[in-house]
């Protein structure tokens, strides 16, 4: 029998054959007969009253078939739509725009060119209104009110932990550090922008939606709920998510363009395509971060004791975050990180401003990046304040391996961990003590070199149904496996790959459980008509949820297979022993039936009293989240003339539990690290006082290229999750979450002797040079 290549094999990615040959099918490859094209006219103002839309100016363009405005949609009660956080956002404004680049009208035309010309030709009269950009200003009495339907700009106050106990503990500390930090707005900037093709069949009353969505099933339900009053029903809606060129959280929300294309298809009776361009993607789609954090961390006799985080969260004009419903600040309360500390309190105040709506993740599990940034910066500061090396301080204060499962002060039960082992491995790999010696020599010569550590703990795999839901739908996920008579299989999932390699890793899980080689297993996702219901792929949840479902469904098949094998072998079920790929009779290993024999018999010779066929489905409700972790060490050199930070080395030791496909894991970490150093050094979307966006195209939104990316040095430890069927934890986001504070800590370390205690991100050359100049350390050569 061929080796089944289950867990631990770097199987070549099955999906790559089509991707590298240009045979992937992305949203813009969907072309339907008679299709129309939709483009969107957008607001030049961050806040303005629309006094008139001159629809005739767009209609005058050759090929323009229709102009849709907020007033058109209002007639169908579609001008507003609900967000995942129980807020609402405009599909199109009826009278007022709330941010620059907001959708103002949709132009439907017979070609993409005509639609673009129509959008450019549309004349709109505006009366500009006062703008509020800074969330702190927005909270002051008398501030310009962003939302006419709300009493103030304050959206919510959320807090968690023991406030009084934490204050008391901080008061009892001998050392307390305090620091403000801002994690600016950034954008996932996936290589494929968002888009859709809506195809309404008026005869059947059926809607097919091809969508760039990470969560096709949830989207179908949302569409059914918001269009029920128009007569659409869930069984008449089919959402198809084709190949996706990167999601990272940005393809979880419903964007106005999707609704507009759908409305346009219903109105015209023709398929309508909307494909966003790069500027629209960066300027109007959901952003990530934008947390203003005030952090306090205290220690007593060198032991970390208490953490307090107070946070102002800028959500733009609507809370369109994509969090589980009960978590307005996501999983921010993982903020105690890898440290054994007894007292913690976190609070978040959400604020409206005249900016695009959002608060989605950027390759992280709901605000974990913000939490990790805060704790890893603060631990570094506290170590220094205690006069201790940041590595030694961490090693002393980590949660110890024997403390797992560990109850955190903020209520999580960490499943497993060995934090010291990961950090020590990273220190060995990079030669930590040698680097410290080199740094001392360089410092004596006036050169700037720094070493930074980040020992993060993630929280992924949302989530257990008792606390995790989105709009009431529990956050389980699913696998449905059907074995064909010849022993080949098809497996369908409620998740949706955006490049993660599901077609390979899921097949490997099934291979491990059933002994069918991965190439014999067809994996499908993304079609709501065929795949079982699931909540989709984000927050590193696919392996913890749908991957577990693959295991459980496989085991159900194996148990039915046992009955069939017993029938074929004329043996008692209890006497059969499973060995990967076959059952044999205890004591007689040559009396065996392979999974392929069993599959054939399931259709040709099944035992009487047993149903024919060999298939199973699992909706897996995880008992807990998983807690991947790791230690990263970054070494930087700083050019005193230009302020440029160069990452010389970056060692990443990751522990994601059991590794299914080590090559894919390494690839996830490579990509994640690149997306991790990006906000530390390059990426930011900012606004001027009038709410004009900067960073709205790739000239200004600086995504790292291969040239800015250092050589990654990867290491691993393996601490299985005790509650996951195969011990896996999820790895898609660890590196994005863990990397930024390692870079910041390295830069602050390089500048520490000058008196620098903190750096805001992105640490652009100009920003670093300003600090050097301020401290008299800028060079002229």
């Amino acid at each position: 029998m061929a080796e089944c290549r289950g867990l631990g094999h770097s199987v070549q990615r099955k999906e790559d054959a089509r991707f590298i040959r240009g045979q992937g099918r992305y949203i813009d490859d969907v072309k339907l007969p008679g299709m129309l094209y939709l483009d969107i006219a957008r607001s030049p103002y961050a806040h303005a009253k629309i006094t008139r839309i001159h629809e005739e100016t767009a209609m005058a363009v050759d090929g323009v078939a229709a102009v849709i405005t907020g007033k058109t949609l209002e007639g169908f009660k579609l001008a507003w739509m609900p967000t995942l956080m129980s807020d609402q956002q405009m599909v199109l404004p009826v009278d007022t725009v709330k941010y620059q680049a907001q959708e103002v009208a949709a132009i439907v035309a017979t070609s993409r060119y005509a639609a673009a010309d129509g959008a450019a030709a549309l004349e709109v009269d505006y009366d500009p209104l006062p703008v509020v950009v800074d969330p702190h200003e927005a909270l002051k009495p008398g501030a310009t009110k962003v939302r006419d339907d709300k009493d103030s700009n304050h959206i919510f106050h959320w807090e968690h932990g023991d406030a009084d106990g934490t204050e008391a503990a901080l008061a009892g500390c001998d050392t307390v550090v305090e620091q403000k930090m801002h994690l600016p707005r950034i954008h996932v900037a996936s290589i494929e922008t968002c888009g859709c093709v809506a195809s309404w069949n008026p005869v059947e009353g059926h809607l097919t939606l091809y969508l760039t969505t990470q969560a096709p099933h949830a989207i179908r339900t949302v569409v059914a709920l918001v269009t029920a009053h128009l007569g659409l029903a869930e069984h008449k809606i089919r959402v198809i998510s084709p190949d996706i060129g990167g999601g990272f959280g940005g393809k979880v929300p419903v964007y106005p363009g999707y609704v507009l294309a759908t409305a346009a298809s219903v109105v015209t009776g023709k398929p309508v395509k909307w494909i966003e361009d790069r500027s629209e993607n960066l300027q109007a789609d959901s952003f990530a971060r934008d947390y203003h954090i005030t952090a306090k961390l205290g220690s007593k006799k060198g032991k970390v004791t208490a953490l307090k985080l107070d946070t102002v969260a800028d959500h733009g004009y609507s809370d369109a975050a994509a969090n589980p419903s009960k978590f307005p600040a996501g999983l921010y309360h993982i903020a105690t990180g890898s440290y054994d500390l007894a007292n913690a309190h976190v609070s978040v105040d959400g604020v409206y401003t005249n900016k695009p709506p959002g608060g989605i993740a950027y390759r992280c599990s709901f605000r974990v990046t913000e939490a990790v940034h805060a704790i890893e910066r603060m631990v570094d500061l506290l170590a220094r304040e205690n006069g201790e090396d940041p590595a030694d301080f961490r090693l002393r204060n980590f949660i110890k391996p024997e403390q797992f499962p560990y109850q955190s002060a903020l209520g999580w039960e960490y499943d497993s961990g060995n934090y010291g082992a990961a950090l020590e491995k990273a220190m060995d790999m990079i030669g930590y003590q040698d680097l410290r010696a080199e740094q001392a020599e360089k410092r004596a010569r006036g050169e700037l070199m720094g070493i930074g550590i980040s020992s993060f703990t993630e929280i992924v795999g949302a989530g257990p149904s008792k606390t995790f839901d989105i709009l009431g739908i529990k956050m389980f996920d699913s696998a449905e496996i059907r074995i064909h008579p010849t022993g080949k299989a098809i497996a369908r999932f409620g998740t949706k790959s955006q490049g993660q390699g599901h077609e390979t890793t899921y097949a490997q899980i099934i291979a491990e459980e059933l002994g069918i080689p991965p190439e014999d297993i067809q994996v499908e996702e993304g079609d709501t008509d065929t795949a079982p219901y699931g909540l989709g792929t984000y927050a590193s949840r696919s392996t913890p949820t749908a991957g577990a479902a693959a295991s459980i469904a496989s085991r159900k098949i194996r148990e039915k297979g046992r009955k069939i094998a017993a029938h074929l072998l004329e043996a008692d079920e209890a006497d059969l022993v499973w060995e990967q790929g076959k059952f044999y009779v205890k004591g007689s290993p040559d009396r065996a039936k392979t999974i392929q024999d069993i599959a054939f018999a399931a259709y040709t010779n099944h035992p009487q009293g047993l149903e024919a066929g060999l298939e199973a489905i699992s909706y897996y409700d995880p008992p807990n989240l998983t807690f991947p972790f790791g230690s990263y060490i970054c070494c930087v050199d700083i050019d005193r003339g230009t302020g440029q930070v160069k990452i010389r080395r970056f060692v990443a030791v990751d522990d994601c539990g059991v590794r299914i496909n080590p090559m894919i894991v390494d690839g996830q970490i490579h990509g994640g690290l690149t997306m991790g150093i990006a906000p530390a050094l390059l990426e930011e979307i900012s606004y001027d006082a009038d709410g004009n966006i900067t960073g709205g195209n790739f000239m200004e939104y600086l995504v790292p290229t291969a040239m800015e990316t250092p050589h990654w040095e990867l290491g691993e430890t393996v601490t299985p999750s005790p509650h996951h069927p195969i011990g896996a934890k999820g790895v898609g986001e660890s590196a994005t979450v863990g990397a930024p504070p390692a870079v910041v800590n390295a830069v602050v370390d390089a500048l520490w002797h000058l008196g620098v205690r903190h750096m805001e991100i992105p640490m652009t050359p100009a920003r670093v040079w300003d600090v050097l100049n301020e401290h008299g350390a800028a060079a002229t050569r």
Binding site: D117, D277, N697, T705, W769, A779
Partner: protein, 289 residues
């Protein structure tokens, strides 16, 4: 990202191209297209017509002739990168072409387009000023040669007349004791410079006999830093001279605050890069002596 509609012409001769430009005042010349087409896609430029130069013979090539390195205006950047002549004898030009955008762009973008587009952020204008290059243009009233120092009249504007087309760039032929360097500082590869400095030196008996110093993206046009040149000429190229030149270059810069940094920062970068470029140019000139 979709431009408005436009007419497209691809004439076979320079005369025909000039005629088309004169007949269509809203027309634009298309060379490599890597500045113009993005501007059209953003609808920042909406030319009524494009006059594509690609079919006109004789507009590309690199050769030494009559005391000059002659570069056809339609020569693409990657041709400079692959040219042994440029790589071995014209280090300032070799440095410059290597830091323009990225390899994919350099396969199509042209030297003439980079110069004639006259974007203060483009890299060749400063290099050509430092080289004391001249430009050959052809138009309705015939051919003329224009000194680089007379060519750039403002952001995105040159002294080319209506219907006039840049055809060739001439750089004085490299001789013994000459050397140059281009130092560009950018936020990421492919970005326009925060600041960049071109330095071209001529040594004679161990002393600097001639110097060209010019700056990229710190003013409305590329800036020739005459005082920095003066600080170098006659010196032995020691640190004091380099520091003086760097200081003078920083003073000559006229940058604005923007996302790449404050004016003060950019001036500081000019100072640092001038020192570094001059050091490198000196080393190369000594090697070529």
């Amino acid at each position: 990202m979709i431009p408005p509609s436009f007419d497209y012409h691809a004439p076979d001769t320079l005369e025909e191209a000039s005629r088309l430009l004169l007949a269509n005042p809203e027309a634009k010349l298309l060379a490599g297209g890597h500045s113009l087409i993005p501007m059209m896609r953003f609808r920042l430029a909406e030319p009524a017509a494009l006059v594509d130069l690609r079919r006109i013979p004789g507009l590309s090539g690199i050769r030494e002739e009559g005391g000059s390195l002659c570069i056809g205006a339609m020569t693409c950047e990657s041709a400079l990168e692959k040219s042994d002549l440029v790589q071995s004898r014209y280090p300032l030009l070799a440095d410059t072409t290597r830091v323009i955008a990225d390899p994919v762009v350099r396969n199509l973008a042209t030297v003439g387009g980079n110069v004639a587009h006259a974007d203060p952020g483009n890299d060749h204008p400063a290099t050509m000023l430092a080289y004391r290059a001249s430009f050959v243009a052809s138009g309705p009233s015939g051919r003329r040669t224009i000194a680089a120092s007379d060519f750039f009249t403002g952001p995105f504007s040159t002294c080319l007349e209506e219907g006039e087309i840049l055809t060739e760039i001439r750089i004085p032929e490299a001789g013994p004791g000459s050397g140059g360097a281009y130092q560009k500082f950018e936020r990421k590869v492919g970005d326009y410079a925060v600041a960049a400095v071109a330095v071209q030196l001529q040594l004679d008996g161990g002393r600097v006999a001639g110097a060209g110093v010019a700056l990229t993206n710190v003013g409305l046009t590329a800036i020739q830093a005459g005082a920095a040149e003066a600080a170098l000429v006659g010196s032995d190229g020691g640190d004091a001279a380099l520091d003086a030149a760097a200081e003078a270059a920083a003073a000559a810069a006229d940058p604005a605050d923007d996302h790449r940094g404050s004016a003060d920062y950019k001036r500081a970068v000019v100072r640092v890069l001038t020192h570094r470029a001059a050091s490198s140019a000196l080393a190369r000139a000594r090697e070529a002596s």
